[in-house]
Amino acid sequence: MKKTLLLALLMVWAMYGAMAQNKVTGVVRDTLNAPLPGVSIRIKGSAQGTTTDVNGQFTLTVDPNATLRFTYTGFVAQEVPLNGRTTLNVILQEDTNELNEVVVTALGIKKERKALGYSVTEVQGEGLTQARETNVMNSLAGKVAGLNITAGAGGPGASNNVLIRGVSTISSTANSQPLYVINGVPMENTRGAQPGGQWDNAPDLGDAVGNINPDDIESISVLKGAAASALYGYRAKAGVIMITTKSGKGNGIEFNSNFVGEQVMDLTDWQYVYGQGSNNIKPVSATAAGQSGGSSWGGLLDGSLVPQFDGVERPYSAVTDNLSKFYRTGNNWTNTVTLNRSFTGGAIRLSASNMDNLSVVPNSSLDRNTFNLAGTFDPINNLKIDARVNYIIEKARNRSMLSDGAGNANYQVMFLPTSLDVNTLKPGWNPDGSELAFNTGNSWATNPWFAAEKFVNDTDRERLISSITARYDFAGAYYIQGRVGRDHYNDTYTNVVPTGTAYRPNGSMSLTNTSFTDMNADVLLGGTFTASDFSFAPAIGAAYRNTHTIATTNNGNDFNVPFVYNIPNLRNKGFAYTDTQFEVQSLYGNVEVSYKDLIYLTGSIRSDWFSTLATPGVNNKLNTVYPGVNTSFVFSELWKPSFLDFGKLRLGYAEVGQATDPYQTQLAYSFLSGTIGGNALGSISNSTIPNASLVASSASEFEIGTELTLFNNLLSLDATWYNKISDGEIIPVTTSTTTGYTGAVLNSGSMRNRGFEALVTARIVRDGKFNWTTSLNGSVNSNVILEMAEGTDALPMGVSRTGVGFIQHLEGLPAFQILAYDYKYDENGNIQYLESGIPDRGELTPQGSAIPKWTAGWNNEFSYKKVNLSFLLEGKWGAKIYSGTDYYGYFNGLHKATLENREGNFAPAGSNTVTEASSYYSNLVQNVSSLNVESADFIKVRQIILGYTFGSLFDSKIKSVNISAVARNPFILMRKTDNIDPEGGYSSAIPGIELGGIPPVRSFGVNLNVKF
């Protein structure tokens, strides 16, 4: 592919010849005197011209009496007659009409907003840096209509679930997330393995986009629909998020410091009437206390002295603040220095940033250092080189275990008996270093202090994202651009179950090293022709991608020397190695035709060839073609009543797709890691039944929308209706385990997302001193799975630890249905009971989707002189969540509902059996798990920023200072869940299941920004 690029460049190069006349030099600036790079300069009446370099400078050989036309997207065009001058200083005025703003579209091409036949939302980088998130994508929550972001309960550095216009695929976890494109280079946002199975008990190991330093981001463009992202073909099915990072600009130093304190919100509302114990009896001995270590089925809390697990007698009274005693006040301190320097023919920007996050979970932290170097320069006229390097070192210490309780401090502290003080479990270990067990009836009930301090769940990532782009502009308004990007990281994940752990006394360890390399290269050749009022811009391109992942795991159990945690010290060792590679080659073309500023029509086509479809001996089709077309009709050019400033109608249709994973087309054998008596252990490596006739899936989407500006820019509206059908979904159909496989990969199934999204912005007060802008965005998305694979109507996605709450895709219903058992009814609708008096288990029924149908964000920005205030609210409605926390609240006698008939007998009158409350309630939620399915509706305050900006200080040695008080997620204004955060799911891949995560965290702090 490198050859291809070189060849194309050379061929074009050979055709290029210079034509000489007079030499004119000059510089183009904006009204603030900042140089403007990339301004297009045309000799009027000719197709010849040039563009300014990174310092706004240009050189042109031209007739001395020619007139030059300067155009730059976002600025008013200007014509300058030379009149014999050989040097020029041109100032361009910014176009105040926001609809002329420039947005970054597919392949990194900047276009005027009015030309787009589809919906794009752009978010500026400054909105991401004051009130921060450790994963920058979480900052977009509530800001973009149709974008649904859920951060989950995994803590700092965890991955998130980003949905654009609903669930994008029926296929399980892979490729369900949007494509991220950084400066034109696609980036694979690989998430670490997600807990979602019943017995999963693992931390969230984060993702790739979360590493990006928000200080480096210039802007983020969200390409929502297929029409916008059609040129990304097979990568675009879940939408595309284009991130543009900052380039060198002017000279100066900028320093930003952000410090926030973090605190958990205790949303529990447990009963504090009865204490630890069982059978309504207070523990009578240390043994009894140890055996009931997880149970609040004891006697009435009467303050009497009662023996606890350690044999010490303490008052038998309510302990209501275990969460605030266990979780510490965390903090997050980020410091960033940015240096900018411009010189003749180029500019560089260097930033260095350190983020130091001390999590609310004791002994857990995230430390991230990022270095970003961006250089732009023009080695010769009309050739622009843009080279970027982003180096990231991230260390996460003790990522929290999620879901199940073993080694999971969150789980254990959540379900402590009502009369047990978490501080009495300190330090968490015995003098010999072994776990101080407080719940001897269950060795998996790890002491939370021991879990936090002694378990190890560390990740280390070293990552280099590099890219180089070369663009050559010909005099005749053609250009050729080549781009190569490489994203490489090495991850190390260390997991240690320490010596002395109750459930694994001799300990165990696993160490995984992953090397990930993603190469992307593309070449684009384009031009613009104008003929009277028509403009015609064709472009063709090709792209190549190779992704290679190698992972090595060493693991084992039983440390020879206790308390020393390294692989050679393990008595029993295991080993695993995987090597996964795939390649995609693509060709595409795009044509834009416009007539005046009235109508724009764009058509595109892309074909992708996939290595993942190749099968030995089978000559199957390896490519899929994705067409797209869209148009923008600026009707205000024809009809402009007094109230209308601007009006546009847009229409788009496109097909986009989704690739398949490698190695799914053939049966393969491999070896297990161990040997037995010297004999190798052969096995089949496929867990799903191979399919030699796979094809890539595709989705087609139609959208229609409008953009209006009314009443002299007082009000603007951007609204879209869309209808997207995904077909030939690559479904790992879950087969019966009796096939020997967990599933079969089939092209089957289809899904529809249909919805409406709108953004209304009102500039309510604009009097110069005081300004108030309010904007409301909202979306409604109706998702339905139209068809599943032949022979099945369900695709299981996840199972709660409780074993009675399920997440599945079901035919005829929205994706990610929560399934739970209902009551059992007779034909007259009466609830059926077992002999014990416990309600019988009825049908497993869908309870609703885990994905909200309605989302809304409301942002307000006020400014008065140098003071600015903003706040952002977000709400989501229509989703459900299965609460494992409430299940165990019933199970352990913590839930308030368990107070009813607490000391009574639930067996029917006349029965000779006795059913105690503990048996009744724990079986109730096991039999009727729909009781723990709750509405996940909420309204939250996402962020509040109050800032003050000082002008230049100390004789302009300091250009500006901004100091802000910031808050992230400070309040939950509305929720319907009993004891949990409605967004508290622990898996970013499988929404709707909740248990054992970190409670929601609020943060308050200050941000200081100084420019020198």
């Binding site: 055709m15 390649e583 390896l622 040997t675 037995i676 008596g677 385990t737 099945t792």
Partner: protein, 524 residues
């Protein structure tokens, strides 16, 4: 301008040509570099793994822990447990434990053994591999159907070969008939001068031993049908006569290996050593110890006390082997502190450490897993002789069985060796009495399968014969109304992954798809 358009086109065309010509590497790129295809992979490698996983899952003894120990061992009163999650001890239903065997067996055993059978079918160079795989497949399916009843059989494990995604459930009657037919064909087709088995964990490639194994398994499978189809049972027993195991040297067992960690270490041992305090809270059942003590049985060697006197996982070197000191833990006890239920309400209670446990040699990480033993074979022959008057003297087979059941203990380790003389003396002192023959035989079979930790088999034979006569426990909120469970319910996961077949099978279970339902051969 024309020149430029031409150059653009040429660049475009050359790009296109170069791009499309690159796809010839795609097959190579899409071939997993660390995997093999059927062209270069020897099926013996997979047979080895299928043998190993019959001894239990490579994933931390997943099925052995739940099905063999938590349920079978306690229901059959070989072991007893105080841990609250040992649901079998108290006839509680924990669905994700009763489904464990199904989940692991089809994935880890059936997928592999079916692949060996299918990939060697009709290949002369792999004839013996093919026949041994057929025998092993019969063995694997016998246990699955014994635990659940009607199960996917003919279409199971065929996901790749027949693209069957939703296998039908075959009736247990059909499965047993086919197992017997398969065994009959395979033993005949085995050829001692044919291809060598490599990586055979059971007999190191000894084809004659494999023939005897095939016949002994045929004997066991045939005898399973005595309650429902005596004709078939007798037909196949007669085929097996004189072809079965000849001594303890023929015992089929898998010797585990410490070096491979969880993948290769003994599954029962992993549970005892690395489980959730099983080392402390799980003991020999009072029923089992009392039975041995009643006759001062030399097999009391399997029991020791105070190996784990406390919850510490460090073994006490001064554990007590004295037969008189042995004491079993009553089933159905807990640590609740509630009178009658709590272990301390056992009249014999002193400390938990004083209850007998398996000898440390039996929970070594490289201890063997016994698959099928000579003692079982002889006891079944005794039963056949008693029932039908075929195959020699019932009393002689019985004596051989009892004796072998004592002397085989040395295969656990030399610490459990009982001399030939002592075994002979015990067998002579406790001969078969015709009137109580069926009970005596079944009781000895129970002792044999308990001491060899093959609790699955102990449970099956009890269900078939009704012996030993066990007194059920009646724990609060048990799921069986105080009766010993007779099968495992079908895994509810099949309801969503194989709904039609599951629903039909579930509805057809005699007595309901419950712990109290019955499999076909367990007719009332």
């Amino acid at each position: 301008m024309k020149k430029n358009i031409k150059s653009i086109l040429m660049a475009g065309v050359s790009t296109l040509l170069m791009t499309t010509s690159c796809t010839k590497d795609f097959v190579e790129i899409n071939t997993n570099p660390i995997a093999y295809s059927s062209n270069n992979f020897n099926p013996n490698f997979v047979l080895t793994t299928a043998q190993l996983t019959y001894a239990g899952s490579t994933d931390f003894a997943y099925d052995t822990w739940r099905a063999n120990l938590i349920y079978s061992s306690t229901m059959i009163q070989g072991l007893a447990a105080l841990s609250s999650y040992w649901a079998g001890d108290k006839y509680m239903l924990t669905p994700w434990y009763t489904s464990a065997y199904w989940e692991r067996a089809y994935d880890e055993q059936i997928k592999r053994i079916v692949d060996v059978v299918e990939s060697t079918r009709g290949k002369e160079e792999y004839n013996n591999v093919h026949q041994v795989a057929r025998i092993w497949k019969a063995l694997a399916f016998e246990r699955i159907t014994d635990l659940y009843g009607d199960v996917p059989y003919s279409e199971a494990g065929m996901g790749y070969y027949s693209s069957i995604l939703y296998p039908k459930f075959d009736s247990q009657q059909f499965i047993y008939q086919d197992i017997l037919k398969e065994l009959d064909e395979a033993v005949v087709a085995l050829d001692a001068s044919g291809d060598a088995l490599t990586g055979d964990l059971v007999y190191a490639g000894d084809i004659n031993k494999w023939k005897r194994f095939g016949y002994t398994l045929m004997l066991r499978a045939a005898m399973r049908l005595t309650k429902v189809d005596e004709t078939t049972a007798r037909t196949y027993v007669e085929k097996a006569l004189n072809n079965t195991f000849q001594g303890n040297d023929d015992n089929a067992k898998i010797i585990h290996d410490i070096t491979g960690g969880r993948e290769t270490q003994n599954r029962n041992s992993q549970t005892f050593l690395d489980g959730g305090q099983e080392h402390y809270y799980v003991r020999w059942s009072k029923t089992f110890i009392d039975f041995l003590k009643a006759t001062n049985d030399p097999r009391l060697k399997v029991a020791v006390t105070n190996l784990y006197p406390t919850t510490s996982t460090v073994q006490n070197a001064a554990f007590v082997t004295n037969a008189a000191a042995q004491k079993g833990l009553p089933n159905g006890k807990d640590l609740s502190g509630v009178a009658g239920r709590d272990v301390s309400s056992d009249p014999d209670y002193t400390t938990i450490g004083d209850y007998s446990q398996p000898h440390p040699a039996m929970i070594e990480r490289d201890a063997p897993t016994f698959v099928l033993t000579y003692a079982e074979s002889e006891l079944l022959l005794a039963e056949a002789a008693l029932k039908w008057g075929i195959g020699g003297s019932a009393a002689e087979h019985y004596k051989n069985g009892v004796k072998a059941s004592i002397t085989y203990l040395s295969q656990w380790g030399s610490a459990l060796t009982v001399s030939e003389t002592e075994a002979e003396a015990f067998a002579n002192a406790h001969p078969l009495v015709i009137a109580s023959g069926p009970q005596q035989i079944a009781e000895q079979y129970w002792v044999q399968t308990c001491t060899s930790f093959n609790f699955y088999e102990a449970w099956s034979n009890w269900r078939r014969t009704g012996f030993p006569e066990l007194t059920p426990v009646n724990y609060v909120n048990n799921a069986t109304n105080g009766t010993i469970p007779r099968r495992f319910p079908y895994p509810t996961a099949e309801e969503s992954t194989n709904p039609e077949n599951y629903r039909a099978a579930s509805a057809a279970v005699s007595g309901g798809d419950l712990l109290t339902g019955r499999v076909w051969w367990d007719a009332q």
